[in-house]
């Protein structure tokens, strides 16, 4: 692993945060993530995690450095604020916390890796952040997207998602977005 000892992590974090904010504000649009330790997933983890939030991960990556850097605790799926996954997994989606009516922000955010954002299911997106509707491809199966729709059916309860490609591109999908499989 290249540890990039000269990397300014705070600079990386603010660049990556801004792209995540843009991605979540404009669902379906694609933004660049600058990797940390050669991994854009770890770059997102370094940006999102700190001592007040916890996470779950199911990846092939070594998380020791992230735990040291962020002081964030690794917990079970149903407790996690952030879930980092190598691939969109349906059972993880179903177990992820969706918040409650009083505190809908106590819900999970899923960060799912994929090979390519342009390979997957053809969909039509609508909702806040989208000017009318937008046809695009989401790197998940039809059944995963149907489960996601089920999970986000009762707004404000639900989960927010990011898809992250091997080419370090990110696409956001907040719970407000309606996904219609074409």
């Amino acid at each position: 692993m290249n540890t990039h000892t000269n990397t300014d992590i705070e600079q990386l974090n603010r660049k990556n945060f801004r792209n995540c904010l843009d991605a979540l504000s404009r669902p379906g649009d694609v933004f660049q993530i600058t990797p940390l330790f050669d991994s854009s997933l770890l770059a997102l983890a370094a940006m999102l995690l700190y001592s007040e939030v916890n996470f779950y991960q199911q990846t092939d990556t070594n998380w020791n450095m992230i735990k040291v850097l962020t002081n964030s605790e690794e917990v079970a799926v149903e407790e996690a604020d952030y879930l980092f996954l190598d691939t969109p997994l349906e059972h993880i989606l179903m177990e992820a916390k969706a918040g409650d009516q009083l505190n809908p922000e106590f819900s999970a955010t899923l960060i799912c890796c994929c090979e390519d954002l342009n390979e997957g299911t053809q969909v039509k997106l609508s909702g806040p952040g989208i000017d009318g509707t937008k046809e695009t491809i989401l790197p998940a199966t039809t059944s995963f997207l149907q489960l996601l729709a089920q999970k986000n059916k009762h707004f404000p309860l639900g989960v927010d998602m990011y898809f992250l490609s091997d080419t370090h591109m990110i696409c956001g999908l907040p719970r407000t977005t309606t996904v219609e499989v074409l």
Binding site: R14, F17, I130, P156
Partner: protein, 280 residues
Amino acid sequence: MNSTTFAFIDEDAKKEIRRSLLKAVALPGYIVPFASREMPVARGWGTGGLQITLSIILERDVLKVIDQGCDASVNAVNIRDFITEVTGVKETVNTSEASIIQTRHRIPEHEFAKDEKQILVFQVPTPEVLTTVEPDTAKQKQMHANSDYAKLWVLLYEDTSQYGDSRISNRYPVLINDHYVMDPSPIPKYDIPRMDNSPVLQLFGAGREKRIYAIPPYTSVKPLKFDDREFKVESFSGISCERCGAQNVFFDEVRRETGNHYFCSDTEYCDQHLEKSNAS
């Protein structure tokens, strides 16, 4: 390690604000509590907006700060000077050139470009829209959870029945994405329709009250009103700016012995309009 922190706030504080911002964007109109930090200006003087701006700003950003539409008021100048000093970003008064616009109580007159991904950061004194009808914060939270806005409707009904229209002149309650009712900050009613389906990301920060909320771009923003009543904004019919001659914009009213005088509230718009008038 750098000797000074970019944008003043420490990294963990920024992460806390960023977490709240992402949740706020995913829950349009919902008020997200956050751990507000001490800032080098007094609470109530724009610390919420300041913390948001400092947490999102990048070296490449171009910053504009306005106070009631004015680029040159004390609050705007001090906040702009502080942010540029701790970040080194370029500043501007030009709305179309700015990537981040921090504002107190106005939305700039210029139309926002569709593809510029501009961010509007509002300074908010009182984030909770239900405060006027329900002082108990626990009950307010319950009311939002139940989408119970009956007390606001009663207030609107009482005003309408007694005075023919709502008496609320600013902070007019708005329904966001057909779910949460939200305080739009003390912007005039004139600016409310301009929030609807706007191409900019609108972020709201209340530092003293420790609350953040947001309206994503292209989101429905509707003022609360009865179906048979028109939402009326401030009327400036027949009035033009004494300085630049502009019409159909929001005006500042200045009262003198000689009578009432009107000037554009947005000083940048006024300057540009004056320049165009002089050129033609």
